[in-house]
């Protein structure tokens, strides 16, 4: 037998702060001792869920286009939002409602986007954040580029980029984390492992036991966390962002969660996964455990819950009214933002669209 030595050895740690019953597990969590932050995170998760249900409803009644529900992933989305600073830059996939809301994106804008209007990407409070990214994984190199800009300028800012479990099968994912590692870019990548890439379960995407370990090949530190635990998501993301801000380079965080809804409103998940599986995932959903934790500490009660739900319903209704009352853009909108200035060769096409729009009325 030939002798061999170990060239390298790797481990992926799993972290969780809060049990499904709402009990602290011993892992440190800065949020756990910050009542205002805890309440704010919980409120944002409820806000995202109520908005999400309304958006699905609007689609079902023909008032919204295809919509990808975020149901079940609120802890990951909100935990990340809470860990970011306003001046950081966010790149999302298309499901991270909680993060967008945290960063001040109006519900009205989100409805407008899924309602087929580019003005839905106007983020008044986070003007450098990228809009939803539909082509899977393609946001990753752009996020690396934004992080490179921050590094070139020596800024203490970071980029936070989301990707899904399916997205980690894309070359762009690996290209970007590889580059981020090689250049020690201030980039934190959160893999939202919700178990399903439309109909393909994560076990059929990859033989890797964790998605976090894909970062090992890029030389990037990685960790897996309970993605339904807002405290650990906030904690681990905060640590990663702090390290990146200090010049310590990128981190990959895999958050284990579950897509409780269909992939989008155009999908029917009963075709490919069992009701039992979904049922057991509901037992781990993220809102209840945080509420229990808050209640145990006297930071929340049924009255607060009712008041919050009423408040969210009012906010959502106002956003829906504003969305439904927004007239579609004039056809010039197709031409106005093509280039900084419309080339003369396109003037006749713009005029043609105007003429036929007038006929359409």
């Amino acid at each position: 037998m030939s002798e061999c030595t170990t060239a390298a050895r790797f481990e992926i740690h799993y972290r969780a702060c809060l049990s499904p019953e709402g009990q602290l597990l011993g892992e440190s969590s800065r949020a756990s001792t910050d009542p205002a932050l805890l309440q704010r995170m919980y409120r944002m998760m409820v806000r995202a869920r109520i908005f999400d249900a309304k958006a699905v409803n609007l689609q079902r009644t023909g008032k919204l286009g295809t919509y990808p529900s975020c149901l079940g992933q609120e802890a990951t989305h909100v935990g990340v939002g809470a860990a970011m600073r306003a001046e950081d830059v966010l790149f999302t996939v298309y499901r991270e409602i909680g993060t967008k809301l945290w960063r001040g994106v109006d519900m009205y804008r989100i409805l407008l986007y899924w309602g087929g209007d580019e003005r839905g990407t106007l983020y008044e409070h986070s003007p450098q954040d990228f809009p939803f990214c539909v082509p899977i994984g393609s946001q990753m190199p752009q996020a690396a580029g934004a992080a490179m800009a921050m590094k070139i300028r020596g800024e203490a800012r970071c980029v936070l980029v989301f990707i899904g479990d399916g997205g980690t099968s894309q070359g762009a994912f690996y290209e970007a984390i590889n580059f981020a590692g090689a250049r020690e870019l201030p980039l934190v990548c959160v893999i939202v492992n919700n178990r399903w890439a439309i109909s393909v379960p994560v076990e059929r995407q990859t033989a890797a036991k964790t998605l976090a370990q894909k970062a090992v090949a890029a030389g990037v530190p990685a960790v897996q966390v309970d993605g339904n635990d807002a405290l650990v998501v906030h904690q681990v993301t905060t640590e990663a962002l702090e390290r990146a801000r200090r010049g310590g380079g990128p981190t990959v965080i895999e958050t284990l969660t579950y897509r409780l809804a269909d992939h989008t409103t155009s999908d029917d998940a009963t075709r490919y996964r069992s009701a039992e599986e979904v049922q057991s995932a509901w037992a781990l959903e993220p809102l209840l455990r945080l509420r229990r934790f808050l209640e145990q500490r006297g930071l929340w009660d049924a009255q607060a819950e009712e008041a919050l739900k009423r408040e969210c319903a009012v906010e959502v209704e106002a956003a829906v009214r504003q969305y439904l009352a927004t007239p579609r853009q004039a056809t010039d909108a197709m031409f106005d933002y093509l280039l900084a200035e419309l080339p003369p060769a396109l003037h006749s096409q713009r005029d043609e669209a105007r003429r036929y729009a007038a006929l359409r009325g």
């Binding site: 580019e118 393609s138 190199p141 580029g145 800009a149 070139i152 580059f179 093509l338």
Partner: protein, 325 residues
Amino acid sequence: MAKMTMVEAINMAHAWEMEHDRNVVVLGEDVGINGGVFRATVGLQQRFGSARVQDTPLAEGLIAGTAIGLAAQGIKPVAEIQFMGFIYPALDQIASHMARLRNRTRGRLTCPLVLRMPHGGGIHAPEHHSESLEALLCHHPGLRVVCPSSPARAYGLLLAAIRDPDPVMFLEPVRLYRFMRQEVADDGQALPIDSCFVLREGSDLTIVTWGAMTVETLKAAEQLSGEGISCEIIDVASLAPIDFDTILDSVVKTGRLLIVHEAARTCAVGAEIAATVSEHALYDLLAPIRRVTGYDTIMPLYRLEYDYIPSLARIVDGIRATLAE
């Protein structure tokens, strides 16, 4: 004024703009210490530092995507794709994001960047190193596509491309890189990025071409001038959007149009020019529009590349055929 090759002029334009705009950053494969495989970026890293001239990992999609992120953050990336035949992995970033970012964010985020790439054949390069794929890019609204045909135009157009507020695909004809030397003033003067250049005035026939094909086309015109044939030659230079006013004015004047390009014929930029001229000037035409182009075949390995690239003889015959009708 120094006489220089196109590749030297391109290098000089980089240096001018990096000197005058601290936001300009160069990235790509081997662009740093190696100065690029064609030496277009030689000396830039030594002069401007490794933060502003960065070698990227070997991944074209990453280069294009990174450039988008940089540009959206206010850096002006000038990124090199090593050969146009390797553009395919970058197309997702170019088409799905670069071309669309301004539009999909209603102008909130933009992509002022340059993606440079060697274009076309004729230097006996290996497989996949000689493609003319401008049509792939021109089909995507939201991009500018530019192809210079001389050292001076390369200098002026590259400066314009870097200063442009939108993504510019900058196609550099490889067989012109060191084909000739020309006096180029290092004066920071940009050329218009939305205009054709009339390389030769004439009255019998308009020839529309770009990039390296300008060389053979000018030769053909010179050869036939001895027979009293007067060709007007237009270097389109900006392939998207195209300055059709200059082309149409010329066609109305001469009544005849020959299109010469290296790319394969079907669905190429020449087809768009022929269609637009037909729409706007059909009754000014005295003869059918003709095309002398690369064949609708795979770009051959280099032993046959000059059988693929339109030759002087094919262009001369194209001119004669257009004039015969």
